[in-house]
Symmetry: C2
Subunit: 380 residues, 2 copies
């Protein structure tokens, strides 16, 4: 039986571990021992407490495993990836760190390592869709809309964060890059607000965020855009805070210490934005692709709607992110991904059986990605 080590056992890491333990021998590692519990008593699931910020500890701990899954917080992601590549281990990563992973491509190639990053839902599944179609058509437009939202709408923000609230605020501040007529355009986050209607949830607002990441470098498509989805009214309230200076990074002297308004705001919002284990939430993803395929104009529209799984206390964000990651991990362990180096999901999407294999893996776990074409035919 092949052996996998999961680095980080947060909300998503836990879901990843319990799912992979159905087929592999899995060890989940976290510095926080409270996170290391398994309600199901899986025979193949083991826990280990360790400080993954210590590179020496990390190098030792991964030695005996066939695959590493990186699920550490973003700020630790790049360092962790580098250490794993140096150790010559294959890795599938969902730590979504801000640094450019491709800087480690040469190192990974030299070490004969397959390191696949951004293996979540968006980025992740959206990249797989993009990469798959880019290989089969001359793509003219790629649009991605994604959101993870609570079912209950609580004033004033109608929002809880399925991942760290600090990272959400960072997403609202960082300028958004997209591609327009082959030019990379930068606009402020929260711009180009539009209201869209979704069958399952009604109206949501969509706005620019910096989510295209690797796609801006890897995919040859003149128009690409990624927008985040929230309940209507959210952006107006966030903009109020922003205009009022609550997101500023300029330090303020308070008492004997110095803090930025952003630090204080994160602290104030943390509790109310943190998704509790019993809070019901859903994930919504829409990808729209246009282009020429076999001499004809084609459009593809992918739609995913996924809900919290009460029976397993798995959040939808953990399901959609974790199962996409696991689908890729499963393919790596089966030897079905030949490429070496640091790879984004779009770069493996066209390998034999990969895209379909991932969709099948998701479907088996009731994460359903529907696709319709310009002829309104549903694809398999």
């Amino acid at each position: 039986m092949q052996r996998i080590i999961i680095l980080g056992c947060g909300l998503v890491g836990r879901t990843i571990a319990m799912d992979l333990a159905q087929k592999y021998q899995v060890t989940a590692v976290d510095i926080n021992s409270e996170k290391l519990t398994d309600e199901n008593n899986d025979d193949n699931l083991f826990f280990q407490q360790a400080d993954l910020t210590d590179i020496k500890v990390l190098k030792d701990i991964i030695l005996d495993y066939d695959l590493v899954v990186g699920a550490v917080p973003g700020y630790l992601g790049f360092q962790t990836l580098k250490t794993v590549i140096e150790a010559g281990k294959n890795i599938v990563d969902i730590s979504f760190f801000p640094e450019n992973a491709f800087e480690l491509n040469e190192l990974a190639t030299q070490n004969n390592v397959t390191a696949i990053v951004d293996c979540g839902v968006a980025p992740g599944l959206s990249n797989l869709i993009c990469g798959y179609h880019a290989a089969h058509m001359e793509m003219s437009s790629f649009k991605c809309y994604v959101g993870g939202l609570p079912k209950e709408k609580i004033e004033p923000f109608f929002y809880k964060a399925p991942f760290s609230p600090v990272d959400v605020l960072e997403e609202y501040i960082r300028p958004a890059r997209f591609k327009q007529e082959n030019v990379i355009v930068t606009k402020e986050a929260l711009s180009d607000l539009e209201i869209l209607n979704f069958d399952k949830v009604g109206e949501l607002e969509a706005f620019n965020t910096d989510g295209l990441r690797s796609l801006l470098q890897t995919i040859d498509c003149p128009n690409m855009i990624e927008k985040t989805l929230r309940y209507p009214g959210h952006v107006d309230k966030i903009k109020t805070l922003m205009l009022a200076g609550f997101f500023s990074n300029e330090p303020l002297n308070i008492g004997k210490e110095s803090f930025s308004p952003l630090q204080l705001t994160s602290k104030i919002l943390f509790d109310q934005w943190t998704l509790k284990p019993t809070d019901e939430e859903f994930t919504i993803l829409t990808v729209e692709i246009e282009g020429n395929e076999n001499g004809k104009k084609e459009t593809y529209k992918y739609e995913l709607y996924d809900e919290y799984d009460a029976s397993k206390q798995n959040s939808s964000m953990a399901r959609t992110t974790g199962f996409t990651c696991n689908a890729i991990a499963d393919l790596v362990l089966q030897g079905k991904i030949a490429a070496k180096g640091v790879l984004a999901p779009e770069q493996i999407a066209n390998e034999e059986g990969v895209f379909k294999g991932i969709l099948d893996y998701l479907k088996a776990r009731n994460v359903n990605l529907n696709c319709s074409t310009n002829n309104n035919q549903l694809l398999a």
Copy 2:
């Protein structure tokens, strides 16, 4: 020449001092020496630096004066008033402290002191109007709308504070008391939002604040309400902050210290809400009175609109507050106010010549209070 001492030389204290120095010998006191400057080099205006939080210092400093004007920050107001009364000095006060001034009434009566509190625009001028008409009619309704606003509307709050931003936030948090059919009703601040139209400034929003203060105790009128005026949209943004927990008093641990969100919010808003000496602003006050007078139904509507005086760099809030205070101080020094004890303005309004004397004092300084009746006749 009679001698006046002004305790506190902030924005309003400064205006008070320079105006009173035209007729009296005036000493203005503040702990901050930077505030103790006189651009006009008035012959009768003197400055003294002193720590007014020290009761012994305060008692000594007021000894040789005929009248005290209290213009200290709210948190110091009650203690200062008590000390002045103990010293047997008459005082006119605009420190708007939260404690109940009438607790000192017995002490003031014993010491043969006239201590008039809340001598600003609202509370202050509004109380004088209320007290004057209550003595001449069976009042059935009293409504007061008041706001001090910047001319320039800056996103997101369209607001700057002509007094301390911390006190403004306090006003938005403290439940508002008003009187409905002879019952004192308490509602949360910012409630009962309505849009009103004003000739000089267009639409403003009005909402409940706890501004009736002494009127709830002193005036026999079944329906009384006080509302604060802001540019439309202000309340919605304040409510966003409030609902998001930014006004909470629950301490948060940040770094090695502990702060409440309200403290942090005050700090973040302080700079942008602080009115700069060159920021143009205006004061708007409307008082509507209904009742039976001489067997007939009568209504009175008082309207005041006053602007920043660029020539003297006097804010309108300092003008309307300070000149009302000075009008009362002038009457006290002329021996025209006979009552002793702690008095709110409505309790002196019906003394011979007082109400008209105050309106004349204001008019001479171009602060014009217009009154119309149900017959649309303008009163003098």
